[in-house]
């Protein structure tokens, strides 16, 4: 026994060395790949970029400085300007809130039909999962552009695009939540002869609703950003106003819109963190 130990130790040392070597090798390989991607990407960027990199760095502060100078020259007259854009902001918020609500409802339907513990039919699950994958993967901008082209300028394309994307994105998260929920309440309800809808209403929904709401609030925050961007391509709201102001070079007004936007997003960020904390306790 006492003699066997050194031999074993030697074996362990050999194995350790092998393992360390292997790890070093795979780390080096990973770093090499990353460096390769970095240089390849930089080459592509240098080739494709219109202006040079160096000049860009030098010019970086010009635009923000112009904006601030413009604003500073206006003095106290500036604040009414900021207030002037609040109605536009409300349109943007309305688009986001409305489409998040509709998307939320659609996502629940999607999630119910793609959860393995609620639906037995494999085909239905696969089909719903595929549907969610597709709706989730399209950038909202592409859907919105197509609908803008078909329906003319209004907020509706933005609503449709965000709703579609939200349904897919939330649906996936909801599915995970339902599949991970405790199966015992469902069994309990089955044992007293509850119907399928009753099972969902009284055993699944109470378990997952806080999580659903938490995800929904997070989505709302993302969708406010999205609806601003869609406004930028013609769906109305503060995004469209901002695009126009930039084109007219109204520096002070541009900054006013930016301030409103950043303020809203930061406020929503804190609010959503607070609500989610209240809903699900620990910071998930």
């Amino acid at each position: 026994m006492a003699k066997a130990l050194p031999a074993n130790l030697e074996q362990i040392e050999v194995n350790l060395k092998k393992l360390t070597n292997q790890r070093t090798r795979s780390s080096l390989l990973g770093i090499a790949i990353l460096i390769l991607i970095f240089f390849g990407g930089t080459l592509v960027s240098l080739e494709a970029n219109a202006g040079s990199f160096g000049r860009g760095i030098a010019n970086f502060f010009n635009y923000p400085r112009d904006l601030f100078v413009d604003t500073f020259e206006m003095g106290w007259k500036y604040w009414p300007r900021v207030i002037k854009y609040i109605p536009e902001l409300i349109i943007t918020l309305n688009i986001a809130l409305f489409s998040t609500s509709i998307g939320f409802i659609l996502a629940i339907i999607f999630a119910i039909f793609s959860s393995r513990n609620l639906i037995r039919n494999k085909r239905v699950i696969q089909f719903t999962k595929f549907l969610m994958d597709v709706t989730r993967s399209f950038p909202t901008l592409i859907i919105a552009m197509v609908f803008l082209y078909l329906m003319g300028k209004s907020s509706l394309p933005a609503v449709i695009a965000i709703t579609i994307h939200t349904a897919g994105a939330l649906g996936k998260l909801f599915t995970e939540a339902i599949e991970n929920c405790d199966g015992k309440p469902i069994e309990g309800l089955s044992s007293v002869g509850a119907t399928w809808t009753q099972k969902i209403r009284f055993s699944v929904l109470p378990q997952v609703l806080p999580l659903f709401l938490s995800y929904g609030i997070l989505r709302l925050e993302i969708n406010v950003r999205e609806s601003t961007i869609l406004g930028f391509v013609g769906a109305g709201g503060i995004g469209e106003m901002l695009a126009a102001l930039i084109q007219w070079n109204y520096g002070a007004d541009v900054l006013a819109c930016m301030f409103l936007l950043v303020g809203t997003i930061i406020a929503l960020d804190y609010l959503s963190a607070y609500w989610r904390h209240k809903l699900i306790g620990a910071n998930q």
């Binding site: 991607i37 592509v44 494709a48 860009g56 010019n59 597709v134 961007i229 930016m258 950043v262 930061i266």
Partner: protein, 466 residues
């Protein structure tokens, strides 16, 4: 039985009055919230003009759009003043005319002389025919139409449908007759228009024609696989270059689908997403250590960094890309930095929270060996958070791909701008569909790639949040 149940229920109610009151209260609250949401949805319906959808939705436009995404059409044009000069062009493009001698492009076999050797026949895919004569157009053999039609020009030079007075409305479906035009469109795939000056026929077929090789390409007669086979043969299709080179350049320079340009744009978009995420990760890594309370004792520094993260994140990538667009001009750098700055904020916040949530014992273990502060962090914290770092960064890679498409559309270039351009032309909808499918494929690929990398690097493809 039921009465005894009711008595029992009453008893339970009396035993636990508080529970029941609370249940009723929370149920009431739920109902109020439900009602408020309902009210909001109704308000939203009207303020956002959702009720106008049927009014704004033009089914004709949508049908044409969808039709053009999967079908192509050939135009046949005849001028009345010279009825033998008939032009057949792909998509009506003056550069893609069949039978033009310098291109050696033969007339398609659905266009031929009629049996009477006077008229020229355009045969549609549904076997319906339009026969062009010197002074009239005959429409024959259309399925679901029991009779044939003739369209002529009257003495004023305006087109009219012969005998239309005698026809019932049922027979006239598919016709649209105005003063200067008689149009016959029985289904979406056939369209015959007669004007005072000319006759124009659109013949639709399903599929993306000239997807690999465009109309004027020397490889056009061959299918993709035939052309691929040709690359192995020694005989040159054109004397100037080898078959392989010809094959690649012809695909790249395809005028209809512009593969070279589209793929380059796609590459730009991917570069924006990947380098942007890399930039953000590299920036956020050291900053997050400085912002975590178990690493940095200086409170002011932590506070400043936290607010920096909030600001970077709060100034959305929309605004960042506007600022960078002014500095760098259109191109990937704008996208890289816009994504990089926004995600430095996001990842910095997530990373620093992950660092603060690490187990203290491992660090203490390293400390007990007398290691320096740096080594404590290196061996006490980094092994714990590395999987979270990798997981978060890879997770953001996928959403950044979508973000890069959007930044591109706002002027930074890449596939987003190409997409806008194709949509703006108003008739290249097959390109729109092609690019949309490409974007979809790349986004799904990035999603799978990041899940796969997460699985082989950290053993779980779910996002790890702590």
């Amino acid at each position: 039985m039921s009465s005894s149940l009711a008595i029992q229920r009453e008893n339970i109610r009396k035993l636990f009055p508080d529970t029941f009151k609370q249940a009723r209260k929370s149920r009431l609250r739920g109902q109020i919230i439900f009602f408020l949401v309902l009210v909001y949805l109704i308000v939203g319906f009207f303020t956002l003009d959702v009720v106008d959808i049927p009014k704004k939705w033009k089914p004709q436009n949508a049908a044409m759009f969808v039709l053009d995404t999967y079908a192509h059409k050939d135009h046949v044009t005849m001028k009345w003043e010279n009825h033998e000069d008939i032009k057949i062009a792909f998509e009506g493009n003056y550069r893609s005319v069949y039978g033009r001698d310098n291109l050696d492009k033969s007339i398609p076999d659905w266009f031929y002389k009629n049996s009477d050797n006077v008229g020229n026949v355009v045969e549609f895919n549904n076997k319906g025919k339009a026969i062009l004569y010197k002074d009239k157009v005959e429409i024959v053999n259309f399925p679901k139409y029991e009779r044939d039609f003739t369209i002529k020009l009257n003495s004023n030079g305006k087109p009219y449908l012969v005998g239309s007075e005698d026809l019932v409305i049922e027979d006239l479906k598919g016709f649209r007759i105005t003063e200067n035009r008689v149009e016959f469109r029985p289904t979406l795939y056939e369209r015959i228009q007669v004007y005072p000056k000319k006759v124009e026929i659109h013949r639709y077929s399903i599929g993306w024609k000239y997807f690999w090789f465009d109309f004027s390409s020397p490889l056009e007669p061959y299918s993709f696989f035939e052309a691929l086979g040709l690359t192995f043969s020694k005989e040159r299709v054109v004397p100037e270059m080898s078959n392989l080179k010809l094959f690649l350049t012809e695909i790249k320079d395809n005028e209809a689908f512009m593969h070279g340009r589209v793929w380059w744009a796609m590459l730009e978009t991917i570069v924006m997403a990947v380098l942007g995420t890399m930039f953000a990760t590299v920036m956020a890594l050291p900053l997050s250590f400085l912002a975590a309370y178990n690493v940095t004792p200086i409170k002011a520094l932590r506070f400043t960094l936290r607010r920096l993260f909030d600001t970077l994140r709060g100034i959305d990538f929309l605004i960042w890309s506007l600022i960078f667009l002014r500095a760098f001009g259109p191109g990937p750098f704008t996208g890289i930095f816009a994504i990089g700055f926004t995600d430095t904020g996001t990842l910095g916040k997530l990373y620093s929270e992950a660092i603060e949530n690490t187990e203290k014992k491992q660090q203490e273990g390293v400390q007990s060996t007398g290691a320096s502060k740096f080594l404590q962090h290196r061996f006490g914290i980094i092994p714990q958070i590395l999987p979270i770092f990798v997981s978060q960064s890879l997770y953001y890679l996928e959403s950044n791909t979508r973000g890069a498409v959007i930044i591109g559309a706002m002027g930074a270039g890449g596939i987003g701008l190409q997409f806008l351009g194709a949509l703006g032309t108003g008739n290249d909808f097959e390109n729109v569909a092609y690019m949309a499918i490409l974007v979809l494929a790349v986004v799904i690929f990035m999603d799978r790639l990041s899940a796969w990398l997460r699985r082989i690097l950290i053993g779980s493809d779910q996002l790890i949040v702590r």
